[in-house]
């Protein structure tokens, strides 16, 4: 009898262990969205570790600008991949297709259903947006007024940028996105790019 309990506690422990960490790491799981290179440093000229096929499962360890540091699930190689060459949304695929400790436990626990892995809410997500909410919706001037109290002034924004050491840079839109001055009411049109603060390095 005792050992029966022990088994249950052990199972519960494993269950908790399997579910919790999974939910933490799951969203860092990713697949390559094309053939790409795994490099030793976040730079196109860094040493190539190996070429990765499309849909290689990876775990994202760190993000740095245009690059992500990843661990390749199968080989455990660690290196840098262009972040644009990774796609999120690999969680489900990972659970189903690849092995891995958590994946198998989750499969076990959830049976055929995917909804037990991490998106517990997958099928109930719309709750909270009931038809009553929508039917009840009215203009809400009081809430709007409250929002207005949180508005940041230009001076607030300037102070905030300085606190964060955010330096203004001159960066142009692509030509196809250039703002037609007539499109915006602001007569100066190019306000930000003519702003004298900061310099592009």
């Amino acid at each position: 009898m005792k050992s029966f309990h022990l088994v249950w506690f052990t199972l519960l422990g494993i269950l908790a262990f399997a579910l919790l960490p999974h939910s933490v790491y799951a969203e860092e799981t990713s697949l390559t969205n094309r053939q790409t290179e795994l490099r030793q440093a976040p730079d196109d000229s860094a040493t190539l570790i190996r070429v990765l096929a499309e849909k290689t499962p990876t775990q994202i360890l760190e993000r740095r600008g245009a690059w992500s540091r990843v661990k390749i699930v199968k080989s455990n190689d660690i290196g840098w991949v262009r972040m644009m060459h990774l796609r999120g949304g690999a969680t489900v695929v990972e659970n189903e297709s690849s092995g891995g400790f958590f994946a198998s436990f989750n499969r076990l626990l959830s049976g055929n259903s995917r909804s037990n892995t991490r998106g517990q809410s997958a099928t109930v997500g719309i709750r909270g947006f009931s038809r009553e909410d929508v039917e009840r919706a009215q203009l809400n001037p009081a809430e709007f007024e409250k929002l207005t109290r949180f508005q940041a002034s230009q001076a607030d924004a300037d102070r905030f940028a300085i606190q964060g050491r955010l330096a203004f840079r001159r960066v142009a839109y692509l030509a196809q996105d250039a703002i037609d001055d007539a499109n915006v009411a602001n007569p100066s049109g190019t306000s930000s790019s003519t702003n004298s603060r900061g310099e592009k390095k």
């Binding site: 972040m83 998106g119 997958a122 142009a172 692509l174």
Partner: protein, 325 residues
């Protein structure tokens, strides 16, 4: 037949009303743009459109644009309240204003609302009214990501994408004018008394329902990265948010039919990569401000590491819904 129809309509309302026209991928229901679901015309909507139809043929003035946007925001807040944290509301307004001040329309009455909703979403209404839900905000891990999402919305406002969509819709509907319908429901606007235009809630909902063209979404992505870079942020925050949306949509695979009409997150990444990834790399070592983000979102907690954010995920994300970015 009518039952099926109205069920369909309700479905679209539920999702799209909150689905912003801003970050596209998920908010599209079949038909939400055209065809059946498109306009869900309530009586007051049609009648007021009929009345305003002729007016729609001229451009809106900036004052009208602002007043329209403020009323739409008031309607959005009528459906989903603000998240109850002055600290977080102020913080998001500051980040947003920094971005907006680097845009071509720095002087609009910019407002950035954090809505208390598990549906991951962000959106914009004309004239500088922007919202983001807690369902999206609490999945982010840095200020650069928040800045990127807001910059996408700021770009829509700068380009007047929503305003143009409304105008197009008004023109279209004017051709079908249904005479003599009952009106009313004109806005009982308390604080919004002075505006040039008044809309009813039905009309507001139908405007909020409009979705944007796929090219406009791609454009807002490109401009969003540029705006974030201008403001001093790592511009890769926006593509990171798009990857977060991919995670969400994968979880929601059962609902994936619902988003079939908008650009998928994967396509948005490919487009960004193709168009300006290289130019943006010069700025990729700019600020991410993970620590400030953690402190502001988690509260007084001193300097949280990123893993803390993941596991503590403070205001818990209860349910994640497919949204549309």
């Amino acid at each position: 037949m009518s039952k099926i129809f109205s069920t369909l309509l309700l479905g679209s309302v539920v999702i799209v009303v909150f689905g912003c026209a801003g970050m596209p991928a998920l908010n599209n229901l079949p038909g939400s743009r055209s065809g059946i679901g498109g306009m869900i015309p309530s009586v007051d909507t049609i009648s007021s459109i009929a009345k305003s139809g002729t007016e729609a043929f001229r451009e809106f003035s900036e004052a009208e644009e602002i007043s329209l946007g403020e009323q739409l925001m008031s309607g959005i807040l009528g459906a989903t309240p603000l998240y109850d944290s002055d600290r977080i509301q102020r913080y998001v307004n500051q980040v947003g204003r920094v971005i907006a001040s680097r845009s071509e329309r720095p002087n609009l009455p910019w407002r950035f609302a954090v809505l208390d909703s598990p549906l991951a979403n962000a959106g914009a209404a004309p004239g500088g009214q922007i919202y983001i839900t807690t369902g999206l905000l609490f999945r982010m891990r840095s200020e650069a990501e928040l800045a990127g999402a807001l910059a996408h919305e700021v770009a829509h406002v700068v380009q007047k994408h929503q305003l143009k969509a409304y105008q197009k819709k008004l023109k279209g509907n004017a051709l079908f004018t249904i005479g003599g319908a009952v009106v009313d429901a004109k806005a009982k606007t308390g604080v919004l008394g002075k505006e040039a235009i008044k809309i009813g809630i039905g009309e507001a909902k139908s405007m909020i329902l409009l979705s944007l063209d796929r090219d406009e979404e791609y454009q807002a992505d490109r401009m969003g990265m540029v705006l974030a870079a201008r403001a001093g942020y790592d511009p890769y925050g926006l593509p990171t948010v798009i990857q977060i949306l991919q995670d969400i949509s994968a979880e929601q695979s059962g609902l994936s039919l619902l988003y079939s009409t908008h650009p998928a997150p994967a396509d948005r990444l490919l487009e960004l990569d193709r168009s300006l990834s290289k130019q943006m790399e010069n700025y990729s070592s700019q600020a991410t401000l993970r620590d400030r983000f953690a402190t502001m979102i988690l509260g007084s907690q001193p300097k949280a590491s990123t893993s803390t954010i993941d596991s503590a995920k403070k205001p818990p994300v209860k349910k994640v819904v497919p949204a549309k970015p």
